[in-house]
């Protein structure tokens, strides 16, 4: 009896510990199981069960002979394919070359991104674009320097939809002679984070 009583008193913490272990173990297996399910699903690039991003064109028309005070506008289409929606879309930008145009300490290139509910249209015979629908600011003017990452705002992020974007690159009027005759090769990478 003393032994049983003793054992009974110690049995409760033991049972509690065992229950906890089982629960945690089950949670672990469940997590792994769920993840295995995700892992077995078609990868985003190949299957249609998860949202995918695509952008056109893959290379924006180059800008040549930009002078202080100039702006260059380019349009691109961001498409959401597959099923499900993205909770967020991020833009990572980096320069392929080390250009003074992308310097963090000099008044170099700036970028602004806007979205139009309809396709952007040319403004007369100019190289500027106008929005004939609803208009949103996707990314306020930021400096094109270093490798940076931003969360884009006011995108539809809906499957089957296309966001019509306008990229506006500008060189401030304060840019000095040291920025003459330089080239910046930028890469813009859009990354969508899928809803779970």
């Amino acid at each position: 009896m003393p032994l049983l009583g003793h054992s009974g008193r110690r049995g409760r913490p033991g049972q509690l510990l065992a229950s906890t272990a089982l629960l945690v173990g089950a949670a672990g297996l469940t997590a792994l199981g769920l993840c295995a399910g995700f892992a077995n699903a078609s990868p985003p690039a190949a299957g249609g069960h998860h949202p995918r991003l695509s952008v056109t064109p893959r290379a924006l028309a180059p800008v040549g002979a930009l002078a202080p005070g100039d702006r260059a506008e380019r349009t691109l289409e961001l498409r959401y394919r597959g099923a499900g929606r993205f909770t967020a879309v991020m833009l990572r930008m980096r320069s392929r070359n080390n250009s003074v145009l992308n310097s963090a300490t000099r008044p170099g290139l700036h970028l602004t991104i806007e979205r139009c509910s309809r396709r952007w249209t040319r403004k007369g015979r100019t190289k500027a674009y106008v929005c004939r629908g609803k208009h949103w600011s996707v990314l306020k003017a930021i400096r094109l320097s270093g490798e940076r990452r931003f969360t884009l705002r006011h995108l539809s992020r809906l499957p089957g939809k296309t966001d019509h974007l306008r990229f506006t690159m500008s060189l401030p009027r304060t840019a000095d002679n040291g920025l003459q005759g330089r080239i910046s090769r930028m890469v813009y990478r859009f990354t969508g984070v899928a809803a779970r």
Partner: protein
């Protein structure tokens, strides 16, 4: 005896605890690794800044001096201004300054005066002493004014990238210049400055 009975229990507890720790670790690792799906796509862009360049030549007679000038005399010198950059100019100015000064350049009433003309084609030179005739059309770039000036605006220039303006600079000692202007000497430098056009959409 108690030790014998308790030992297996302790081992069991350790095993259970180990499973719990492993399970928790697996759960955390699993959730951390497969938290989200992402999809990426990218585009690239090349952006080049332009150049602004103002050069002179091949014709440039401004370095050729004149001596023993008298009241009423004038000197003509030709200079080509080239807009050699990739960006158009919006305006150009001229600044003249005397490194060796005299009443010839300081007297704004009876001292030397400057005027600039442009020919639509290259000036035809004769001399020395140099004189020029235009086989095309002539336009006034700078009306007659005192020789020394700062950031004086120039008119009727082409200012387009890749083009050249053919200029004739005429310096005159007015006929009103008195004897006080005899045997004086001034050395004058000319600085043409171009400013880019206004910002545009590219």
């Amino acid at each position: 005896m108690r030790l014998r009975i308790l030992t297996p229990g302790a081992t069991t507890n350790k095993v259970i605890a180990t499973i719990a720790v492993l399970g928790a670790a697996a759960a955390i690792a699993g959730l951390g690794t497969f938290a989200t799906f992402t999809s990426s796509t990218s585009t690239s862009h090349t952006i080049a800044s332009g150049t602004l360049s103002l050069t002179s030549g091949p014709v440039n007679r401004l370095g050729t001096g004149a001596s023993l000038i008298a009241a009423g005399d004038s000197m003509q010198r030709a200079i080509d201004l080239n807009y050699a950059g990739s960006v158009d100019m919006g305006s150009a100015t001229l600044t003249t300054s005397a490194s060796t000064s005299s009443a010839l350049d300081t007297d704004t009433t009876d001292g030397l005066r400057l005027a600039i003309d442009k020919c639509s084609v290259a000036w035809t030179e004769s001399g020395p002493p140099y004189t020029y005739t235009c086989g095309g059309s002539v336009s006034t770039v700078l009306a007659s004014q005192p020789l020394i000036g700062s950031n004086v605006g120039l008119s009727n220039l082409t200012l387009t990238a890749g083009t050249t303006d053919h200029l004739r600079v005429t310096v005159t000692l007015p006929s009103t210049a008195g004897n006080a202007f005899q045997n004086l000497s001034s050395t004058v430098g000319y600085t043409f400055t171009g400013v880019q056009r206004a910002g545009t959409s590219q």
